[in-house]
C-alpha cells in the first residue's frame, strides 16, 4: 500500500515539535491564550485601519497618550502636555524606549506624522491628522510634508500647531495613526516593514514575539517598557484565528482560550454550563440611511417620516436580533457619548418617535400627494451578506409591507460590490453602521455634513452644515454640546436616517482571568492590566 507510506512520510515531515496544546490561562507563568477573528492585515501603524491590527498595535506600541482602565486619558510616551486653541506641547518621558533599547524621541513622531500625511504613503486614515496645521493641504493639495505643523523643540519636547481649535485633539493622541515611527528602522525595511514579527519595532507594553501568518501570534512582555511594573501578563498567545463563534465557544469549553463571544445559539449552552457571561457595547451604531439624491423618492420627507413611524427598533433588537447587549437605537448619537458633566444623551435626550401605524399611513398619503403618485413603486434596500444582515433586511421588508403596503426589494451584495453601490448612490435605503474614531460626538455628527464622503445618501442641509461648523470651530463645551443637540434634533425631525441599534456583545471569560478592559477606543480588549489569579 503506497498510500500508507506516503501518509507516514507526510506526518514525519510535519514539525512534530510544534504541538501546541497550551491551556487557556496559566497562573504560574502569567500567560493566557486567546483567539482573534482575523489575522492583522497591516501592522504598520501609519496605514492600518482594521480592528484586529489595531488590537495588536495597541498592545505593542504606544502614542503620546493612552487610555486608562475607565477610558480616561493617561500619559503614554508623553508625561505632561498642554493644549490651547493654537497649539499643543508634549514633554516626552525620557524612559520611554523602543524595543531595541533606544529612546523614543520627538523626531520619531515628526517622521511618522509627516509620512502619514504624505500622499505617497496613501494612508486611508490620513484625515485623522487634519486638525494639525497644513495636514490637509499636504495630503490633498501637494504642499510639502515638511510644512506640517509639528516641530521637535528638542529630543523630548514636541510642539504641534493646530489648523483650528480642536476640543478632542488630546484623545486623538492615543489613536494608532498618531503612533511614532523610527526613521532608520522604517527606511531599512521600507515596503516590507511590518510584514513579519522581525520587521517591526515596538514601544508598547508587549512585543510581537512570534507571527506565523494565518495561524498564530504571540505577544511577550516588553522588558524595555517604561511602565512595565503595571503590566502583569508575561505572555499572550493567539493560537487561533477564526470568526466562527461555535468554534471559539468550543475552544473555550475545552479550556484552550480565555475569552469567547456568544451568539443566539450558544447562549443557552453557556447558561447550561454555568459559565460567567459578560456584556459589552463596542460603541458602533447601526442605522438605515435614506438616499437623499435628487431623483430618489426617499428625498421626500413625508415618505421618510412614514417609514420612521412604523419602525420599532425595540422589536428588532429584542425579537429579531435577540442577542443581549444590543440597545435599541434612538439617535445617531449613542448613549455612551460624554456630554458636559453627564452623558450627552442625558443632557440632550433624543426626541421619542412613537410607533404609530395610523400616523405612518397619514405621512404616506401626504407623500403620495406631493410626489403625485397613484401607487408607490417599490423601494430598494441595499444590505450586507452576513446572515444577521439578511435577517434584519427581511424583517424590515415585512415591516414596510405589513404596515404601509410598500414593497421593498432587497439588494444583497458582498463587501466591495456593496461599497461600490453605496458610493455611486445606487439604493433607496442602505443598512449602514458607524464605529467611532475618536471620543467626541463629532465623530458621528459630521457624518451627515454635506461635504463628508461617508454621507452615502448625500443628505445636504445648510442648517445642519452650519451647526457642524459651529461645533468644529469652538472649544467651548456648552456651545459644542448644544450644537450637537441641535444636530440630533434635525436628524430625527427630518427622518434623515432610522437608527436601528447600538451594537453589543455577550461573551464568556475565564474565571481566573481578571483586569481585562473592554473599550470603545483603542484596541479591544485591552490586556494591559490583566492577570491570572
Amino acid at each position: 500500500m503506497p498510500s500508507l507510506y506516503q501518509l507516514l512520510f507526510l506526518i514525519l515531515l510535519f514539525p512534530a515539535s510544534a504541538i501546541c496544546l497550551a491551556q487557556a490561562v496559566d497562573a504560574n507563568n502569567q500567560s493566557i491564550s486567546i483567539a482573534i477573528g482575523a489575522e492583522p492585515p497591516d501592522l504598520n501603524s501609519m496605514t492600518s485601519t482594521d480592528q484586529s491590527s489595531i488590537f495588536i498595535l495597541d498592545h505593542v506600541m504606544q502614542g503620546l497618550l493612552r487610555f486608562g482602565k475607565d477610558g480616561q486619558l493617561l500619559g503614554g510616551v508623553a508625561e505632561r502636555w498642554t493644549l490651547n486653541n493654537e497649539e499643543a506641547v508634549f514633554w516626552l518621558r525620557k524612559d520611554a524606549l523602543w524595543s531595541d533599547g533606544r529612546a523614543v524621541t520627538a523626531h520619531d513622531f515628526v517622521y511618522a506624522w509627516r509620512t502619514v500625511v504624505d500622499p505617497k504613503t496613501a494612508s486611508q486614515y490620513a484625515f485623522i491628522l487634519y486638525p494639525i496645521k497644513n495636514a490637509e493641504a499636504i495630503n490633498q493639495r501637494g504642499m510639502l510634508a515638511e510644512e506640517l505643523g509639528i516641530v521637535a523643540d528638542s529630543d523630548f519636547v514636541l510642539r504641534v500647531k493646530l489648523e483650528r481649535p480642536c476640543a478632542y485633539f488630546l484623545s486623538l493622541m492615543a489613536f494608532v495613526t498618531y503612533y511614532p515611527m523610527r526613521e532608520d528602522f522604517h527606511q531599512t525595511h521600507s515596503n516590507q516593514y511590518a510584514a513579519d514579527a522581525g520587521k517591526l519595532l515596538f514601544n508598547g507594553p508587549f512585543i510581537l514575539d512570534k507571527w506565523v501568518h494565518g495561524a498564530e501570534l504571540a505577544l511577550v512582555k516588553n522588558q524595555f517598557y517604561w511602565d512595565r511594573e503595571h503590566v502583569r501578563l508575561n505572555r499572550i498567545e493567539v493560537p487561533f484565528i477564526t470568526t466562527d463563534t461555535s468554534t471559539t465557544f468550543n475552544l473555550f469549553k475545552d479550556n484552550k482560550i480565555a475569552m469567547a463571544g456568544l451568539d443566539v445559539a450558544t447562549i443557552s449552552n453557556a447558561l447550561e454550563h454555568r459559565l460567567p457571561i459578560k456584556k459589552f457595547n463596542d460603541g458602533a451604531v447601526f442605522y438605515l440611511e435614506f438616499n437623499h439624491r435628487a431623483n430618489r423618492l426617499t428625498r421626500n420627507k413625508n415618505l421618510r417620516k412614514a417609514i420612521q413611524s412604523v419602525f420599532n427598533a425595540n422589536e428588532l433588537v429584542n425579537k429579531v436580533i435577540g442577542v443581549p447587549g444590543n440597545k435599541p437605537g434612538e439617535s445617531l448619537f449613542p448613549q455612551w457619548l460624554q456630554g458636559k458633566s453627564h452623558s450627552f444623551r442625558q443632557e440632550y435626550p433624543a426626541q421619542k418617535v412613537h410607533f404609530n401605524i395610523a400616523k405612518g399611513k397619514e405621512y404616506l398619503a401626504l407623500a403620495k400627494k406631493e410626489l403625485q403618485l397613484k401607487k408607490f413603486p417599490s423601494l430598494t434596500l441595499l444590505s450586507g451578506d452576513s446572515p444577521g444582515a439578511s435577517v434584519q433586511a427581511e424583517y424590515f421588508q415585512q415591516v414596510l409591507s405589513r404596515y404601509l403596503g410598500l414593497e421593498l426589494k432587497l439588494d444583497k451584495q458582498i463587501f466591495k460590490q456593496r461599497l461600490a453601490k453605496m458610493t455611486s448612490g445606487d439604493f433607496d435605503l442602505v443598512a449602514a453602521g458607524w464605529g467611532p474614531d475618536y471620543n467626541d460626538p463629532m465623530t458621528f455628527a459630521d457624518l451627515f455634513a454635506s461635504w463628508n464622503e461617508n454621507n452615502r445618501g448625500r443628505y445636504s442641509s445648510e442648517e445642519y452644515d452650519q451647526w457642524v461648523k459651529v461645533a468644529q470651530g469652538s472649544s467651548d463645551v456648552d456651545v459644542r454640546m448644544s450644537a450637537f443637540g441641535k444636530l440630533q434634533h434635525i436628524l430625527i425631525e427630518n427622518a434623515v436616517l432610522i437608527p436601528q441599534y447600538e451594537r453589543g456583545y455577550v461573551y464568556v471569560q475565564n474565571a481566573h482571568l481578571t483586569g481585562v478592559v473592554r473599550r470603545i477606543f483603542g484596541g479591544d480588549p485591552s490586556y494591559y492590566y490583566a492577570y491570572v489569579e
Partner: protein, 473 residues
C-alpha cells in the same frame, strides 16, 4: 388411468392429411423493443426504484398542489412565535401593546424593613412579550444590575445573561421590563445591588461586594392586542383573561417566525428546479463534450480538454459575481434562470473528464472495433455502445450533483444570486437553520431531511436505472 381404446376408434383419415403451416410458434417471441424500452420495463420491476419514483412524483405533486392545501404565506413573519419547535394549537394571553413601562413609583411601594434583603416582584403575569420586575431599593444604593438565567443560579458568578444596569434617581420609579427573546419556560431573574466603590482606580476586582436576590418567573405565551387584531385571531375569555389561539405551525417556525412547512413546500419549487435541471443539462453537456473528445482523440481531445481545464480553474465566486452583473439581475429580481445558466457554464467539465476517460477505454474494446468495421457511424457508436457503458458513472455524478447544486444555490444567495428574499429555498433554509443549530435544531432538521429524502430517492432510482441498463445481468 387405463385406456382401452381400439385402434379403429382413434384413427381417422383426417389424421393422414398433410399439416398446414401455422405461425403459432411465434408465441415465444416478444414484440421487438429497443434497448431503452427494455431498460424502462426492467426498471418498473425494481421495487426500490418504483417506490423512489413514487416519492419523487409525490414531492413534485406536493410542490405543485401543497401550497393550495396548506395556504400559509411562507413570507409572513409570526413574531410571537419565533424559532418555535413543531407544535399544535397553542393559545396565548392577550397583553398590552408595546409601550414604555416606567416601573413602579417608589412612593407606591409598600414599606418594608429598612436594609432588608432585596425583594423582587413580578408585575402582572410574565409572558413572552414582557416580564416586568420591580423591587424595593436598598437605602443608599442606586445602582442595580439585572440578570436572567434559564437555570437556577448557584452563586453570584452564575446569574446568567446580564440584561441591564439601572441607576435609580431619587423619587423615580423602580422597575425593569425584559422583552429579550422570551419563550414559554421558567426564567430566573436576579437583581444585584451594587455598592458604590469609591476607589475604583486602585481596586483590582471587577465586581464590588454586592447583594443579590433571585426570583423564578414562569413565562406564558403572550400576544399583543395589536398583533392579535392584525393576525385576525379570535379571542375568548378563559378564567377572566383574554386568550387567543395562535396560528398553527406543524413543522415549527424559523428565526423570523415564518412557517417551515409552507416554506418547505414553496422552497421545493426552486430547489428541485435548480437541483435537477442544472445538473441534468450540464451533465448532458459534459457527456457530449467528453464523448466527442474521447472518441476523436488526438489533437481535438487535446484542445477540448485544455478548454475544460481552463473552465475548471476559473475562480468560481468571481465569475458568479461577474455573471450576475452580466445578466443584469437587479435587486428583487429572480435570478433563477440566469443562475441555472451560470451553473451550467461552469459545471460541465468534471463530467466531461470522466466520460472522456471512459470513452478512451471503451472505444478500444473489440466489439466497438467490430461495429466500426461493419460501418457503424460515430454517432451510432457513441449512442449505442459508449453511452450505456458510461451511464452508471453519469448516474452517480448526477445523484451527487443534485444536493451539491441545491447548496450552491444557497451559497450564491449571499452574493444576491438565486431566489429573492423572502422566497425560500431548501438550501437557504438549511443555511438559516445552521445559525440556530444548537438552540433550535428543528430549523435545520426539516430542510436537511427533505433534501436527504430527495437525494435518497434519486440515488435509488439511479441504482435501479443502472441495474436495468446492465445488459449483462
Amino acid at each position: 388411468m387405463t385406456e382401452s381404446l381400439s385402434v379403429s376408434e382413434t384413427l381417422s383419415p383426417e389424421l393422414f392429411e398433410p399439416m398446414t403451416i401455422e405461425m403459432s410458434v411465434d408465441k415465444f417471441e416478444q414484440p421487438s423493443i429497443t434497448y431503452w424500452q427494455a431498460t424502462w420495463q426492467k426498471l418498473l420491476r425494481n421495487p426500490k426504484a418504483v417506490s423512489s419514483l413514487c416519492i419523487i412524483t409525490c414531492l413534485v405533486f406536493i410542490t405543485l398542489v401543497g401550497p393550495f392545501i396548506w395556504t400559509v404565506d411562507p413570507a409572513i413573519q409570526d413574531l410571537e412565535q419565533i424559532s418555535q419547535p413543531p407544535s399544535w394549537g397553542r393559545s396565548a394571553l392577550v397583553v398590552d401593546d408595546f409601550g414604555i413601562w416606567q416601573g413602579v413609583p417608589i412612593t407606591e411601594m409598600e414599606q418594608g424593613e429598612e436594609d432588608g434583603p432585596l425583594v423582587l416582584k413580578v408585575i402582572g403575569k410574565g409572558n413572552t412579550e414582557y416580564v416586568r420586575l420591580t423591587w424595593r431599593p436598598i437605602k443608599g444604593i442606586s445602582e442595580y444590575h439585572i440578570y436572567r438565567n434559564e437555570f437556577v443560579p448557584l452563586d453570584i458568578a452564575t446569574l446568567g445573561i446580564p440584561l441591564a444596569e439601572i441607576i435609580l434617581i431619587d423619587g423615580e420609579a423602580v422597575g425593569y421590563e425584559d422583552r429579550l427573546k422570551l419563550s414559554e419556560r421558567d426564567y430566573y431573574y436576579s437583581v444585584v445591588a451594587i455598592e458604590q466603590v469609591m476607589n475604583r482606580e486602585d481596586s483590582d476586582t471587577d465586581m464590588p461586594i454586592a447583594v443579590y436576590s433571585t426570583i423564578r418567573v414562569s413565562v406564558i405565551q403572550g400576544v399583543t392586542k395589536a398583533d392579535a387584531l392584525f393576525l385576525n385571531l379570535e379571542s375568548e375569555e378563559v378564567n377572566g383573561a383574554q386568550t387567543v389561539k395562535l396560528p398553527l405551525h406543524p413543522f415549527g417556525t424559523d428565526g423570523l417566525g415564518r412557517d417551515i412547512l409552507s416554506r418547505l413546500m414553496h422552497g421545493a419549487r426552486t430547489s428541485l428546479l435548480i437541483g435537477i435541471l442544472a445538473p441534468l443539462i450540464y451533465i448532458a453537456m459534459g457527456v457530449v463534450y467528453g464523448g466527442v473528445s474521447g472518441y476523436r482523440g488526438g489533437r481535438t481531445d487535446e484542445v477540448m480538454m485544455r478548454f475544460a481545464d481552463f473552465v475548471i480553474a476559473l475562480p468560481f465566486l468571481l465569475f458568479m459575481i461577474l455573471l450576475k452583473v452580466a445578466f443584469g439581475i437587479g435587486p428583487g429580481e429572480s435570478g433563477i434562470l440566469p443562475m441555472i445558466i451560470a451553473l451550467i457554464m461552469l459545471g460541465w467539465p468534471s463530467v466531461a473528464r470522466i466520460v472522456r476517460g471512459q470513452t478512451f477505454v471503451i472505444k478500444e474494446e473489440a466489439y466497438i472495433q467490430a461495429a466500426r468495421l461493419m460501418g457503424a457511424k460515430p454517432f451510432y457508436l457513441v449512442y449505442r455502445h459508449v453511452l450505456p457503458n458510461v451511464l452508471p458513472l453519469i448516474i452517480v455524478s448526477l445523484t451527487f450533483a443534485i444536493p451539491a447544486t441545491i447548496f450552491t444555490e444557497a451559497f450564491l444567495s449571499f452574493i444576491g444570486f438565486g431566489v429573492v428574499p423572502p422566497n425560500p429555498s431548501w438550501g437557504s433554509m438549511c443555511n438559516d437553520g445552521l445559525q440556530h443549530m444548537l438552540s433550535t435544531p428543528h430549523e435545520l432538521i426539516f430542510p436537511a431531511s427533505v433534501i436527504c429524502i430527495a437525494v435518497l430517492c434519486f440515488n435509488l432510482l439511479g441504482d435501479g436505472l443502472r441495474e436495468a441498463m446492465d445488459v449483462k445481468s
